[in-house]
Symmetry: C2
Subunit: 92 residues, 2 copies
């Protein structure tokens, strides 16, 4: 396929284990949203919850979309200590 | 969680079987992109290919994002004969 040009979107689908409280989920989302203030190459952040009616969401309840200017910027984000610290809070 | 407000995004991750040719994939993507011209409630369409380096993409190679003004608009899109015809071309 063609090489990616222009913005690169990092898209994460998530589901949470039953024992994760709504407060904990809110805290994780707030922490994720705050990365945009702390990690320079992360240019925008949007998230939402599943409202689909097609029953094709495979149990995923949340989506998180971060915007970068290049693949290199994504790599910088992934390696950023603040991201590493945040990612360690979450099972993937 | 809170009720969805504002735009509703329809996000589809895709992978193709090995016997689907690059030409066929291009044709399907063009057909998908063309829905925005044919289905009024579909307000925008973006797509891209996987360029991730985290090895968490679970074999999905393509992402398609359509934008709607409400959940009702998504329902209208899903039921639209042009969408139904297109969806029948694709295994889910």
């Amino acid at each position: 396929m063609e090489e990616a040009k222009g913005p690169v979107k990092h898209v994460l689908l998530a589901k949470f284990k039953d024992d994760v409280s709504p407060e904990k989920i809110k805290e994780l989302i707030n922490g994720y949203a705050n990365l945009v203030n702390l990690i320079e190459p992360m240019k925008a952040f949007h998230w939402g919850t599943d409202v689909s009616i097609e029953n094709l969401h495979k149990g995923f309840t949340h989506i998180f979309e971060s915007t970068f200017e290049s693949k290199e910027a994504v790599a910088e984000y992934i390696a950023h200590p603040v991201h590493v610290e945040f990612a360690n809070l979450v099972d993937v």
